[in-house]
Symmetry: C2
């Protein structure tokens, strides 16, 4: 049976039920840990499912933060230092990653609380996650308030990428599935992936071809 | 071996290689088809990997569109009609979905070109994809230019949701994995998923519990 849910139905729903429903609709989401520190050097780690690609040249990443929920320390740290890291969540650390969303006091570091390893790199004033396989650092470019619902769009430029060379394909693609990166659906569901295939650039009068992920390309 | 890629390396890369690399970094992305029509009723369908959750109350979805690439008809249609649909790509239609990114003439409908079925619902002036299992209609709320790289953020409010009741869990979560919704990595890689688990709401002094996805919840 196909269910039709109207705008009135959505408005009438209990708040948590509506949050679970609407959060399921956008499709699979990225699972990333945002690493920051405040001016006193207290580190912070927060799982965020709203990281998205914004552009490759310059290399820009966007994320949505709701100032009144847990990543609030993340936002104030980014404002204070202008620097943050984004670390892929993988299938070995997904439960610890989820636990960073608990409301720890700002004097406590989530790294310690959930037992993940701080990794510092020279010249970057924000901690990476040692257990994460694909990670990168960013400099803050812009904080754009979205008046429509009180969230903010944080835009950063990528300054440093750390990735195992085995997953870096010759054509630039990173095989994030081989690195065990997970995806999120809804508010709380975590998923590993299985590749259907890579497809060639689409042109009007030809069918897309499957790219060979091994050998030639990777 | 761990590879470090610096900002200078990124800037020096060949354009398509950089696009593949940077597009891989945000993690898994949603795979959605945007259904629109112009004022003359010519329909359009475009795959977009930049759809993201913006808020549940009001129910808002964001997506990034680069006006100079293929979804340009999508943007002008949304501006003209104020209405669009978002349709999950699943493992039966992923190759057809990818093919919508070819540069078809604006007088041609991608529905016909890639052999997907237009589905119209009363009162909604945009086509759904018949073959998509989870889909919803939106009214345009805001088009926000992002000056930093010339992209635009399109914000819509969800007005109508169509989903099989078998995938709609009691607590509001939609089991999009059961609907075969796929994820994208990079520019051109498509993935099915396998659930690791759902986790309970995180609290500071307890470990998150695995939620039972069948029976009680679903």
């Amino acid at each position: 049976m196909i269910k039709h849910i109207t705008q009135d139905d959505i408005k009438a729903m209990e708040q948590r039920e509506r949050a679970r429903l609407i959060n399921s609709l956008s499709g699979f989401k990225s699972a990333n840990l945002i690493g920051t520190q405040n001016a006193s050097g207290i580190t912070n780690l927060a799982i965020v499912s709203s990281v998205f690609h914004l552009g490759a040249d310059p290399a820009l990443i966007g994320m949505i933060i709701r100032p009144d929920t847990v990543p609030r320390d993340t936002l104030s740290n980014i404002k204070a230092t202008g620097v943050y890291t984004i670390n892929h969540v993988n299938s070995l650390i997904w439960q610890q990653a989820h636990q960073t969303s608990a409301r720890y006091d700002e004097s406590e570091s989530e790294f310690e609380k959930v037992a993940l390893t701080e990794q510092f790199e020279k010249g970057i004033d924000a901690p990476f996650v040692g257990e994460s396989q694909a990670k990168f650092a960013l400099e803050l470019r812009e904080i754009k308030p979205l008046e429509i619902n009180g969230t903010v769009l944080v835009i950063g430029e990528i300054t440093h990428i750390i990735v195992p060379d085995i997953a870096l394909c010759k054509d630039g693609y990173i095989d994030i599935e081989a690195l065990d990166t997970v995806a999120i659906s809804g508010l709380d569901s975590y998923h590993t992936t299985e590749r259907l295939g890579r497809l060639s650039y689409a042109k009007p009068n030809t069918k897309p071809q499957l790219l060979n992920i091994e050998g030639d390309v990777c």
